[in-house]
Amino acid sequence: MPAFLPLRDAVAAHVRDGDVVALEGFTHLIPHAAGHEIARQGRRDLTLVRMTPDLVYDQLIGAGCARRLVFSWGGNPGVGSLHRLRDAVEHGWPRPLELEEHSHAAMAAAWAAGASGLPFAVLRGYAGTDLPTHNPTVRRVTCPFTGESLAAVPALRPDVTVIHAQQADRAGNVRLWGIVGVQKEAVLAARRAALVTVEEVVDDFDAPGVRGPGARDAVAILPSFVVHAISEVPGGAHPSYAAGYTTRDNAFYAAWDAIARDRERFRTWMDAHVLRPEAAGV
């Protein structure tokens, strides 16, 4: 049974300096509010894991929280670069950032392996590319039946996983729907804790009047016994979104390009919108 906690307390209880932390959510349901809380608490030396770093890691990297990034596509979707990520990689500002760089297929398989309690994932991938040259965690295995050589990557097992979901019920079960990404896998792969921010805590997912998925949506239910802390944070995915509750703030994604392009403007924005204690009211 997870604890229902204010976000500040949930992050303080579970996220430590030096942790391997995954904030997952594939475009949809990105846990921005939790990312801001991690920045506000000044966590340092984090290894950040995420298929698509998106704005949430651009902010954490720019705020100096990260030492290392494990990822597979680091852009501002539909807009262009993540300037804070680029500045860290290209100029070491505010501090150098080590990269462990994968393809989507490999990271998705590595999440599934992590959830499955396996030490590695197998995929038909990476063949002929330069990625394994720069990433020693890409190796090969041989099929014991066909002799075929395939790629292997280590399972992802972060210390802490943080996700945003539409709902929790009072028993501590969590439900998300729409584009569900790798969040179930990331929660199950966490070694120490899984934190969930939700749009809403409801009595029961099945009760009349409670919002729910459409007929074609994917649905993921995380039973209470795999979740450690739940924080009710309406709008906690903004500028990402929560299907059924909010819509993606595409204008903010576009506006971020100019904010993040300039170090001073970025700092001013972070101070005003994230780091000042008043911002914690979100």
Binding site: T27, G75, P77, A105, A109, T129, H134, E185, R216, Y241
Partner: protein
């Protein structure tokens, strides 16, 4: 088509790429040009095209172009939505994709792609977004279509980084690497269409868009580009194609408050 302004190079490119989609084809599409391309095809000659997005959406039928690969617009009215591990394992690696669309920052003469870095990997001049789904899309889709804007900085003699294998170092390379799909069948640009030579796999200019001088395409290419002897002069966008494409962009801009930009 008197009421229409002349098509832009990007419109010419988008229409040419859309025409490459057969009706009923299962297309793995990324954001930007590939998405505009596939949605244009679905609204013109290929209403049965199945649009698959790496976010887990199968059979998307968006009314407007998504800005991101995971817009809510994509999941609504889709045939199905699945998790991302399942998308890459069962649907892409499982061999269910007919056509994969890819962009890139650099393309070489064997249609290998770079979307990782310009310059040295450890001290890059420009850090690009990285691989995303590209290496395995190019490996597993039955065929790949590459869509880029034509320039000698894009079509280069040598990639700074091989993110994605097209035809490797030439004939037989894909089989040696265990890549299951046939690889890039075309590189479509705003100047024309390059296809791998059946014997050498080297990209060869097989068609130019309406009004484009083949010599200008050669000059805009970073290697000595071969030109097919039976070079085709590709028909311009029809009034209908342009109208549908512009309507799609107009509705997209109205819906998002911003234009859906290229990836």
């Amino acid at each position: 088509m008197s009421e229409f302004s002349h098509p832009t190079p990007t419109e010419v490119l988008t229409v040419a790429a859309a025409r490459a989609i057969r009706d009923g084809a299962v297309c793995f599409v990324g954001i930007g040009l590939p998405s505009a391309t596939a949605n244009l095809a679905r609204r013109t000659h290929a209403p049965g095209a199945v649009l698959v997005y790496e976010s887990g959406v199968i059979g998307a039928r968006p009314d407007v172009l998504p800005l991101s690969i995971g817009d809510g617009e994509l999941a609504e009215r889709a045939t199905a939505v699945v998790g991302v591990p399942e998308m890459f394992a069962y649907w892409l690696q499982g061999g269910r994709i007919d056509v994969g669309f890819l962009g890139a920052a650099q393309v070489d003469r064997f249609a290998n792609l770079n979307s990782t870095v310009i310059g040295d990997y450890d001290r890059p001049t420009t850090r690009l977004p990285g691989a995303g789904g590209a290496p395995e899309i190019a490996a597993a889709a039955r065929e790949t279509i590459v869509v880029v804007r034509h320039s000698p900085r894009v079509l280069v003699e040598r990639l700074d980084f091989v993110t994605t294998v097209g035809h490797g170092d030439g004939p037989g390379a894909r089989a040696r690497l265990g890549l299951t799909g046939r690889g890039p069948s075309a590189v479509i640009t705003d100047l024309g269409v390059l296809r791998p030579d059946p014997a050498t796999c080297e990209l060869t200019l097989t068609g130019v868009h309406d009004g484009v001088d083949p010599d200008a395409v050669v000059r805009a290419t970073g290697w000595p580009l071969r030109v097919a002897t039976d070079l085709a002069f590709l028909p311009p966008p029809t009034a209908h194609e342009l109208a549908v494409l512009r309507d799609l962009h107009a509705r997209t801009a109205a819906a998002h408050g911003v234009a859906a930009m290229g990836a």
